[in-house]
């Protein structure tokens, strides 16, 4: 009570933030949970339907297909989106030419600033089978016939992973570089005095010291894995939809396109539960709370 009185001003200042989260965070969450148990109607109160919506989602093959797609595409993005920026950050850390280093960082960061609509449009154009740069180069270098990357299921999944990794590589790279610059230089000095090579310094100093940052990046990316939507929505087409449609696309289609709002709410709560489970597993595996 004494502490409450002592910091009363600070607590008062927190009230608007708390109200903001109550209105825009928790109220929709609770309302969504309520809707997931209702036979939702646009007007008036929908009757409660028990677990019918959850049962419908559970027995819907499209939902499980979407979950599989999410795990394949999201898993790919998680793995590649973790390793690629790490390698890039380590490589850029070796660059001594400051201007080149900063320019490279800036160029790599730009795609992160673009919306998925823009990025999707660019890649649809680049991957076009007749006038796309990628196919033109492939034909010139290897003589292979044009590949319709976005119309064939195998390639479409791969494109989803690669483009998402490309887009956010600069952002994650900056997180890793921020971690690298905080490493105590005396550790490198000690390693050099012990005769460590450049690779050994990376292997035995940089990577272990970067473990905390890596855990945070991995956990943040894991939390977003089941919620990927934008890139799939922009890059999908009816030919590849069954192989690339992810859980959030399923939810969107049920709620907005088919107007089965109760079913969509149930599906999103299942996604929420899966995300929670996945996050807890990753926390456990990475021993997130342990220092170092």
């Amino acid at each position: 009570m004494k502490a409450l009185r002592k910091y009363a001003a600070l607590y008062l200042m927190m009230i608007p933030v708390a109200i903001y989260f109550l209105i825009y965070g928790y109220y929709p969450l609770v309302k969504g949970l309520q809707v997931s148990f209702q036979d939702y109607r646009l007007m008036g109160n929908g009757p409660y339907a028990g677990l019918a919506n959850y049962s419908q989602v559970w027995h819907d093959p499209f939902f499980w297909k979407s979950l599989t797609n999410t795990l394949v595409i999201g898993g790919g993005i998680l793995a590649l989106g973790f390793v690629a920026p790490l390698v890039l950050a380590l490589s850029l850390n070796e660059v001594l030419h400051t201007r080149f280093k900063k320019t490279a960082q800036m160029v790599l960061y730009i795609p992160h600033l673009l919306s998925w609509v823009i990025v999707g449009g660019i890649w649809i154009f680049l991957l076009s089978p007749d006038t796309g740069l990628v196919n033109l180069l492939l034909q010139r270098w290897t003589g292979t016939p044009p590949i319709h990357f976005l119309a064939e299921s195998f390639w479409a999944r791969l494109v989803m992973i690669l483009v998402a990794t490309w887009k956010d590589m600069g952002y994650n790279c900056i997180l890793f570089m921020a971690g690298i610059v905080t490493i105590n230089p005396s550790l490198y000095e000690a390693a050099r005095m012990d005769g460590a090579t450049r690779w050994q310094q990376v292997r035995y100093v940089t990577l272990p010291q970067l473990l905390g940052t890596m855990k945070v990046v991995l956990l943040l990316n894991t939390m977003g894995v089941l919620r990927i939507f934008d890139q799939v929505f922009v890059l999908r087409n009816p030919s590849t939809a069954p192989d690339v449609d992810v859980l959030m696309v399923y939810t969107f289609e049920k709620g907005i396109m088919n107007m089965q709002v109760g079913v969509a709410a149930a599906a999103s709560f299942m996604v929420l539960l899966f995300t929670l489970a996945l996050t807890l597993v990753v926390r456990k595996i990475t021993r997130f709370d342990e220092v170092g």
Binding site: A8, A9, L12, M13, I15, P16, I19, R41, L42, M43, G44, P61, F62, I124, S128, P129, D130, P146, H148, L150, A151, E152, N237, P238, S239, T240, A241, P242, E253, G255, I256, M257, N258, M259, V261
Partner: protein, 482 residues
């Protein structure tokens, strides 16, 4: 003292934030609330409320000004013509989402524009719309068959037989649209059978119809499966559902569709088909047609005129000529063409100003309403001297379309006639086109049909396997009966 000052500042900050938040939530509280009609309740003719007191809030996809500034003028023009104080909201994007969230959150609109019969039926099922049967039947304007042909109202009826919407314009259909000037240049006849179509498309690919000396043209482009009805007609196949003895069938997923998918696969294999047809949106497809890259596309009747007008605007001496074609003749000599779902106005059950909404709906089908919806705002889009209309530069830019490019009312003649090629296209629609049957489960079925149809058409999968797989999945998901 210092602590007190801190407390005071914190309170001021919180107070101002809360006040500004509250202020943002009260835009419509001043409007009259004369009570919306009850769920599904039928409403009769408009009341005798003086127009000067009427307010109206509209959520619109197409009707209104092209820019926020023009939209404000559009609202003023309605006020001038009807006395109704109207607010038209036109979301820049994601219109369907906006409609759904508006209805779901209890936001009060008096009229909402729609263009999807499947969604209209869903809204009716969910009790979101007011029945307009008594109003339409009691309105001397709307019940006049020369204003809206009586049979047309069947499109807007719910399963209970009530009318739940009023047309906002005349909706046409889709069809193959060909470069007539290329046909003439290559001495080709207009195709009638599927073989004729193949020969024409092949010639467009191989005989350099644009005369630039490069093999850079395609015969045909589509936007996915949208809309190959003109060719599927050759096998007598109608898109979406067809009920046979009460059983749900999807002709595009039947054995009869196999040769048709093989025909498309042949076009793809021979480079006649635009290879991007799977990923094209309609905008890309149109651009290919307008830039001499492709000789045939499948699109709306109105666009025949838009294509011609756009090229003529850019170059008055152009030889470009787009022309609508009838579908390929079917095995029984019949043609199948697609008529689009109608565009309509619906009135939510929580509409606050139903009388104003009804007054507006009647106005929308009068000469003044049609002129506003087509030509636009007098003095801004056009000027009138006696019976003589003249389009301004803005009016030309707006292509005589402010939500109503075409209309039902036969007593209102278009002052400038129709754009070149449109009348012939509409004649084909009137003669052959029929609506598609969209059952509630179509959204799920469509995903399966489109997926395998496109795989077969692009040659990624043999057509026979694609159809077999289509049928298997449709049956497994209980989306067809046979």
């Amino acid at each position: 003292m210092k602590r007190k000052a801190t407390h005071l500042m914190a309170l001021l900050a919180i107070g101002s934030m809360l006040l500004s938040a509250c202020g943002g939530n009260t835009p419509n509280n001043g409007t009259s609330a004369n009570g919306g009609t009850q769920n599904g309740a039928s409403t009769g003719a408009p009341s005798e409320t003086p127009a000067g007191d009427m307010k109206l809030r509209i959520l619109s996809a197409n009707v209104g000004g092209k820019t926020p500034e023009e939209n404000a003028k559009f609202e003023q023009e309605i006020k001038r013509l009807t006395g109704i104080d109207v607010t038209i909201e036109r979301p820049a994007s994601d219109y369907d989402q906006k409609v759904l969230t508006a209805l779901g959150s209890g936001e009060k609109y008096d009229l909402i524009e729609g263009s999807d019969l499947g969604k209209l039926n869903s809204f009716v099922d969910q009790g979101a719309l007011t029945s307009l049967t008594d109003f339409v039947q009691g309105s001397s304007q709307l019940s006049d068959p020369s204003v809206v042909p009586s049979a047309e109202w069947d499109q807007l009826k719910g399963q209970d037989g009530n009318i739940y919407a009023v047309f906002s314009k005349f909706q046409g259909g889709t069809m193959p649209i060909v470069r007539k000037d290329w046909l003439d240049k290559l001495n080709l006849q207009e195709p009638k059978t599927l073989d004729d179509y193949y020969n024409v498309l092949k010639a467009f690919k191989e005989q350099d119809p644009d005369g630039n000396g490069k093999a850079d043209t395609y015969g045909l482009s589509t936007s996915g499966l949208y809309d190959i009805q003109g060719f599927m007609s050759a096998a007598g196949l109608k898109y979406r559902y067809v009920l046979k003895d009460g059983k749900r069938t999807i002709p595009y997923a039947s054995e009869a569709a196999i040769p048709m998918y093989e025909w498309f696969a042949k076009l793809t294999r021979e480079g006649i088909m635009d290879p991007n047809f799977v990923t094209n949106d309609t905008g890309k497809m149109r651009n290919l047609f307008l830039t001499d890259r492709v000789g045939m596309v499948t699109y709306w009747d109105a666009w025949v005129g838009m294509f011609n007008s756009t090229r003529q605007e850019a170059d008055p001496n152009t030889t470009f000529e787009a022309k609508a074609l009838a579908s390929a003749t079917g095995p029984d000599g019949n043609l199948l063409m697609r008529r689009g779902d109608p565009d309509y106005w619906m009135m939510p059950v929580n509409a606050e100003h139903p009388d104003a909404a009804k007054k507006f709906l009647e106005f929308w089908h009068t000469e003044a309403g049609i002129t506003l919806g087509s030509l636009g705002i007098e003095g801004d889009d056009y000027t009138k001297d006696g019976d003589q209309y003249t389009l301004t530069a803005t009016g030309k830019e707006h292509n005589m379309d402010h939500g109503v490019p075409f209309w039902y009312n036969e007593t209102v003649k278009p002052p400038f006639g129709k754009l070149p090629g449109v009348q012939e296209a509409q004649d084909l629609v009137k003669q052959y086109a029929t609506l598609e049957l969209s059952l509630p489960e179509w959204a799920d079925a469509e995903k399966i049909v489109q997926n395998y149809a496109l795989k077969a058409m692009s040659g990624e999968m043999p057509a026979g396997d694609a159809v077999k797989q289509m049928q298997k999945e449709l049956k497994a998901a209980n989306l067809i009966d046979e």
